[in-house]
């Protein structure tokens, strides 16, 4: 897996792109100020995201491929080795599944009390979006936000970006730095940052997984599957 794949951070230049993080202004004006904390990164863009996706696929194949090869060698060497060959195949299947499970975790709700402060925060969050997004959030915990890079699903501790066409999803670990915030405020922080500078948001966030949408769909918590299906539908129309 690429070194930048974990939520701990990415290495320079791996998002593939065109200019230093602070160099290019956001579409609507000011760039996300948090870019100053990741000066070594280049600003994400469409080409870079495609490249990152291909690297993920290649990396996964490099991890799983040897196990498939080992299974073929074992199975052809002797029938008695068939159980070991089967184990190798299970391992090859499991590697991408584990990575997808890590990516899907960004859609999980954070802990924390759902008390009065959360109700207040939820009221503000509801004012920021339209009726359709509000209803989907009520059912899934994820906020649908169309963007230039694809269709976003923003959660309390991360975001999913369904790329145009709906076949690939990028899972980002990103959070509000104040852990005492109620869950809906955390989501509002991410949503507003995304709206301020989508490219900057994708640059600041850490890529946890990039791969086939169906892999992530199987791994996200059940209420999020509906939101992912809606996002894929939107992305297919782009």
């Amino acid at each position: 897996m690429p070194s930048w794949s974990s939520c701990a951070g990415r290495s320079p230049g791996d998002s593939g792109l065109s200019s230093p993080a602070e160099a290019a202004p956001a579409r609507g004006g000011a760039a996300l100020p948090e870019l100053a904390n990741v000066r070594w990164r280049t600003r994400a863009d469409d080409r870079g995201l495609r490249r990152a996706g291909r690297l993920w696929t290649l990396s996964t194949a490099a991890h799983a491929g040897p196990f498939v090869l080992a299974a073929v060698v074992l199975a052809s060497a002797s029938p008695i080795l068939l159980p070991f060959a089967a184990l190798c195949l299970v391992h090859a299947w499991g590697i991408p599944e584990l990575y997808a499970a890590r990516g899907a975790r960004v859609a999980k709700p954070v802990g924390g009390a759902r008390d009065r402060s959360e109700r207040v925060a939820l009221g503000l969050l509801g004012d920021l979006v339209d009726h359709r997004a509000r209803e989907l959030h009520a059912r899934s915990g994820l906020m649908l936000e169309p963007g230039r890079l694809g269709t976003w699903l923003v959660g309390e501790a991360g975001a999913l970006l369904v790329r145009p066409g709906g076949h690939r999803v990028h899972c980002y670990c990103v959070r509000a730095t104040d852990s005492a915030l109620p869950p809906s405020d955390r989501l509002a922080h991410l949503l507003l940052a995304l709206r301020t500078d989508e490219v900057g948001f994708a640059t600041v966030a850490n890529l946890a997984f990039s791969g086939a949408t169906w892999r992530v769909r199987r791994r996200v918590v059940r209420p999020a599957r509906e939101a992912l299906a809606v996002a894929v539908h939107e992305a297919r129309g782009r």
Partner: protein, 74 residues
């Protein structure tokens, strides 16, 4: 009536309110706005439909200005 609100652990707090026809309330709001920025908050105006704008001076004509904390890769 325009509002400056801060997202915090209470959900959100109204930091200042002002009207364009009341210079005193606007001045108080500007002072409160600067104090919040000094505390490390970022201010923005949500334009709806997927657009928000970061602001460094209080836009007196905006209905709602929101203060948020920084975000970071998780």
């Amino acid at each position: 009536m325009s509002r400056l609100i801060r997202m915090d652990r209470t959900g959100h707090t109204t930091v200042a309110e002002w009207t364009t026809g009341d210079p005193a309330s606007a001045e108080e709001a500007i002072a409160a706005f600067r104090a919040e920025l000094d505390q490390g908050y970022f201010a923005l105006v949500n334009h709806g439909a997927g657009s928000a704008e970061q602001v460094h001076e209080l836009p007196l004509d905006a209905e709602l200005v929101i203060l948020r904390r920084p975000i970071a890769g998780g």
